[in-house]
C-alpha cells in the first residue's frame, strides 16, 4: 500500500505503548531475542576495531589486546556471549519451521533438522577452537 492510498482513506492505527513487550513473558522473550542482535553487532564492531588497530601497527594493536583483558571487557564479553547463545538457540529452533527438508515425498522430521544444527554447531565450534584457540 503506498502513501497516497493511506492518506485517502482514514486508517485506524492501534495505539501501542512503548512497554508493550513487558506485559507478557512471551512478548518479553521475543524482545530479548530481537535485542540479541545488538550484542551480535557489538561483537562484530569489536573485531572491526581490532582490524583497524592492527592496520595502525604493533604498538596500537598490542594496546587493543590489553584493552580486551580489562574487567570491563570481560564483563561485556560475558553479556555478549549470553545473548549470542540465546540467538543461536532461538535461531536453531526456528530453522525446522522455516526450512522443511524433503527427501522425495518424505519430510525429514523437524527434530532431526534441529539435531543436525546442533551437531554442525559443535563441530564448527571445535574446529574454530583448534584453529584459533591453540598456538
Amino acid at each position: 500500500m503506498n502513501q497516497e492510498t493511506l492518506n485517502r482513506h482514514p486508517v485506524y492505527k492501534q495505539p501501542m505503548s512503548a512497554t508493550w513487550w513487558l506485559s507478557s513473558r512471551n512478548y518479553f522473550l521475543f524482545m530479548v531475542r530481537e535485542v540479541s542482535a545488538l550484542f551480535v553487532a557489538l561483537f562484530a564492531v569489536s573485531y572491526l576495531v581490532g582490524l583497524y588497530r592492527l592496520s595502525q601497527g604493533e604498538a596500537q594493536y598490542t594496546a587493543y589486546l590489553e584493552s580486551l583483558q580489562t574487567p570491563f571487557a570481560g564483563l561485556s564479553f560475558v553479556v555478549i556471549l549470553v545473548f549470542a547463545l540465546y540467538h543461536t538457540v532461538t535461531w536453531f529452533s526456528l530453522t525446522p519451521i522455516v526450512m522443511v527438508v524433503r527427501l522425495g515425498t518424505r519430510v525429514i522430521p523437524p527434530q532431526l533438522v534441529l539435531l543436525t544444527n546442533y551437531l554442525v554447531w559443535l563441530i564448527l565450534s571445535g574446529i574454530l577452537f583448534c584453529l584459533v584457540g591453540t598456538s
Binding site: A41, T88, V132
Partner: protein, 120 residues
Amino acid sequence: MAARLKTTDPFWWALFSAGGTLAAFLLPAHILITGVGISFGWIQPEVIGYQRLLTWLEHPLLKIYLLLLISLSLFHWAHRFRYVLIDMGLRSIKAPVAVLCYGTAIAATVATLVLLFFCL
C-alpha cells in the same frame, strides 16, 4: 513478465537471514575464544597476536571469512534492530530508521573491506 519490485525487503531479509545463520553457528565460539577466553586469561592473547594475525591475513580466504562474519552480522543486526525501533514506537519515522540501520551496516562493511584488502 518483469514485475516491478515494490519493496526492497526481500533483499534485506536475505542479508538478515544469512547473517543470523552465520552468527548462530560461529559467533559463540569466537566470543568464547577471543572474547571471554582472553579476558579471563584462559586463552593466551598471543593466539591473536600481532605477527600471527598478520601472517594469517596473508591468506585471502581468511580476509573473506572475516569480511562475511563482520558484515553479515551487522546486516543481521540492522534488520532486527530496525523492527525493534519500530516496535518500540518509532513507526512515524520508519524511513529514517531504516536508513540509519542499513546505512550503519553498509558503512561498517565498506570500512571492513577497505581495512582488510587495502590496509592490511
